[in-house]
């Protein structure tokens, strides 16, 4: 792999509130709202944008080539435009794409838009359409499975695993309550853990309603610029250091007697190796992880951070994933709080970037945040993983 052609900075971020009631806006208007916030945040106008990137899961809203309609609100008129859609990972893919497009030198300023208006479609229908129509679609239950919960209970004991998953869930809700844009903010307290563990309706096995992510509407927009322009445009540009995407074969066939390495683990392994990160828990100051359920969030903490045995549960139990812990996870509340699918995976680097900038609002981590990790998830257990930095000093380390 060659050296990166030039650095890419994040200079603007805009998000709508996430909710299940956006009847007052059509899709193009909702996109426009987030675009305006991002332009304002970046202190630029549409004239400064060279290229627009668009993404969502079109089969949910059943609109063919929605970027055409959304051009009413996206500002793509007269501009180059790309549309990339990769399921749940869409938002993160858009960030990777923006990085590639700006780093290439083909464009100086790129605006990426991730959006979803699930209430205008049929979400479960949309998800089951992921499976082959002739085999497996009849068996698919949307994105719901308790296999991870089952495996964690086998490994750590039923009581400890359930308690840990619930603690993770409540922690995520506490973070969400600090996030003015989050969709679901229940106000859960740790004292409720035992009750919720046993009374929240079961969806599949031990995967209960309380553990599962929401279905939200909303849009997220990020603006990227070349290093030169970023430094000129923006007081606090933050930087994309590296990213990796890992897809998997067509079917969910990985629950056999032997299980292959998860894409999360593979992605982390490759990304950290080529960037010289030996201890991710030490190195990173924040991790915005795409956690579609509390069970997955907890399990994948082990995968992404290359931990072993119960190290991830210990970190959770010791409060290290809290806002004031060693490695806060999802100060935004994560995916269980807000899940506007086409945008969800963009929220992760967006929120991580805000932490690096120091303006994440009530959910800002108090300690200095210099190194951020963000992940995306989708498809048949695909992962996208990216590293964001507050300063460009890692490069001097590489070259020096």
């Amino acid at each position: 792999m060659a050296k990166k052609n030039r650095n890419v900075g994040i200079v603007g971020i805009g998000q709508t509130e996430y909710s299940s009631h956006k009847e007052h806006q059509n899709q193009a208007e909702m996109v426009n709202e987030a675009v305006r916030y991002a332009l304002e945040d970046a202190n630029i106008t549409l004239d400064d944008i060279d290229c627009v990137l668009h993404g969502n899961m079109e089969l949910f809203e059943m609109v063919f080539q929605p970027d055409m309609w959304h051009s009413l609100g996206s500002g793509a008129y007269g501009k180059d435009q790309f549309r990339i859609t990769t399921g749940g990972t869409t938002g993160a893919s858009l960030v990777c794409a923006a990085d590639n497009l700006v780093a290439s030198g083909m464009y100086d300023v790129v605006m990426a838009i991730g959006m979803e208006k699930l209430q205008e479609g049929h979400t479960t229908g949309g998800i089951t359409n992921m499976a082959d129509p002739l085999w497996f679609r009849h068996l698919q239950t949307g994105a719901l499975t308790a296999t991870t919960a089952t495996m964690m209970m086998d490994e750590f004991g039923e009581e400890r695993a359930k308690k840990a998953a619930m603690k993770y869930r409540i922690l995520m809700d506490k973070h969400a309550c600090l996030n003015p844009r989050a969709h679901r903010r229940f106000g859960l307290e740790y004292e409720q853990a035992d009750d919720l563990m046993n009374t929240s309706p079961q969806l599949v096995g031990e995967l209960r309603l309380i553990h599962m992510c929401s279905q939200s509407d909303g849009a997220c927009v990020m603006i990227f610029a070349s290093e030169k322009k970023a430094k000129k445009m923006c007081k606090t540009p933050v930087w994309i250091r590296d990213h990796i995407t890992v897809h998997r074969e067509e079917t969910f066939n990985n629950f056999g007697i032997e299980m292959p390495e998860m894409t999360h683990h593979y992605a982390a392994r490759k990304l950290f190796e080529r960037n010289g990160i030996k201890d991710p828990v030490e190195y990173f100051d924040v991790f915005e992880m795409y956690d579609p359920s509390a069970w997955w969030g907890l399990d994948w903490a082990r995968e992404f951070l290359l931990l072993k045995d119960d190290e991830h549960i210990k970190l959770l139990e010791d409060g290290e994933f809290d806002l004031d812990g060693k490695l806060p996870i999802n100060p935004s509340g994560g995916v269980t709080a807000s899940n506007p699918i086409g945008a969800t995976a963009m929220l992760r680097p967006a929120e991580a970037a805000m932490q690096l900038r120091g303006d994440a609002g009530p959910q800002q981590i108090k300690k200095k945040v210099k190194h951020a990790l963000a992940s995306g998830f989708g498809g048949t257990l695909w992962s996208v993983l990216m590293m964001l930095e507050k300063d460009l000093d890692w490069q001097e380390v590489e070259n020096g």
Binding site: V63, F64, M68, W69, G78, R83, N100, L101, M106, T263
Partner: protein
């Protein structure tokens, strides 16, 4: 700017009904073809680690349409992004992956089966906003008809000239082993074919088609590992026009002109008429061939009709593949356009080979009445 190489292309023959293969089968055939040509592999060290696919969820009737074909495009434990637009845009994106330094080799794979769904018009109707456009029954065919009428008024394009375009397309398609509609026709056959959507007749429209195209791109440093004869991707540009038909001047080529301008600028092309030897345009309907050629600058504004009579398309080696009129699926046509341009530049176009081809253009469009255009410049 550094150059990105197109090492090889592999096309699946287009047909109106590839009932005996699913997408996976089609893409595997072309994968094997391109592997034979280049020796490419997907190993972690030195192989393809980045893939750009191009397909549409609505036409595939499958959420995350790249999910179904992950295996046959080699994306298992590799990077992959799906270009959910007309496939030619995948080239611009693949170009950026290489120019950014992220990866040196990129595999591009596009597919589409128009025959799978009962009606491609119902699919394109879904592109219109639910309250007004969709309710009115707009789809890409009847909207193209509106544009055709506007263009005919502006340029004076006649039935006979449109028929000439189709007749010529079939003549070239006959020489293209990958084309769909190769049956030869005469002017009268076209001019008196039934009206599909006034002024577009059935024979002015591209037939329902299924197909798949793949390409291998590499950085300049590594191109030689895969081919002795790379073709260079030197320019890329795209542009979006307004959405509501009433906001647009349908005959103006607003988006195409800008897309072309940006692609030419990147490639250092100052005068298309002097510097381009071959053109592949995405002519879904006969009127689009002269109209897109105007937008690309091969003749003046409003002069497309004259251009046809003066044998302009022959002079500029336009659509020697037969073009889209010979039948390619809507989302994959751009890759077919580019594949022909690549073969011509490499000197591998067989019976269709034109002489002295040093620089070529491939163009594609999507959205109703060409709302969005993409232009790619290639050279030997």
């Amino acid at each position: 700017m550094k150059r990105v190489a197109v090492c090889a292309v592999a096309q699946h023959k287009c047909d109106s009904n590839i009932w005996h293969k699913r997408f996976q089968g089609m893409l595997l055939d072309v994968l094997e073809d391109i592997q034979k040509q280049t020796g490419m592999h997907f190993s972690e060290e030195g192989g393809v680690r980045s893939i750009v696919s191009a397909s549409d969820d609505v036409f595939d009737a499958r959420t995350i349409s790249d999910n179904g074909i992950t295996d046959v495009i080699g994306a298992h434990y590799r990077e992959e992004e799906k270009m959910a637009q007309e496939s030619l845009n995948a080239l611009g994106y693949a170009m950026s992956i290489i120019l950014s330094g992220h990866e040196d080799v990129v595999y591009v794979a596009g597919h589409c089966k128009e025959s799978q769904g009962e009606s491609r018009n119902v699919c394109t109707n879904l592109s219109y906003d639910p309250f007004y456009g969709r309710a009115m029954g707009l789809d890409y065919t009847n909207v193209a008809a509106l544009q055709a009428r506007a263009y005919m008024e502006k340029s004076g394009l006649t039935e006979e000239q449109m028929a000439k375009v189709v007749v010529r397309a079939r003549q070239w398609a006959e020489k293209n082993p990958y084309a769909n509609a190769t049956e030869q026709v005469e002017l009268g056959d076209v001019m008196y074919s039934p009206m599909l959507c006034d002024p577009i007749r059935t024979m002015h429209a591209y037939p329902v088609s299924d197909g798949a195209v793949v390409m291998l791109l590499a950085s300049e440093e590594r191109a030689h590992e895969f081919t002795d004869n790379p073709v260079w991707l030197t320019g890329f540009g795209s542009c979006m026009d307004s959405y509501f038909l009433g906001d647009r001047d349908l005959a103006s080529n607003f988006a195409l002109k800008q897309a072309a301008e940006r692609a030419y600028k990147m490639a250092g092309v100052k005068d298309a008429r002097k510097e381009i030897d071959l053109v592949e345009v995405m002519d879904c309907y006969a009127y689009q061939q002269p109209m897109w050629l105007e937008g690309l600058g091969f003749c003046g504004d409003g002069e497309g009709a004259k251009f046809i009579d003066e044998e302009g398309p022959a002079k500029y080696n336009v659509n020697l593949s037969g073009g889209m009129l010979a039948g390619n699926p809507i989302m994959t046509s751009g890759l077919y356009r580019m594949a022909e341009a690549v073969l011509q530049l490499k000197g591998d176009a067989g019976e269709r080979q034109a002489a002295d081809v040093n620089r070529a253009i491939a163009q594609s469009t999507t959205g109703g009445a060409g709302q969005f255009h993409t232009v790619v410049v290639l050279e030997k």
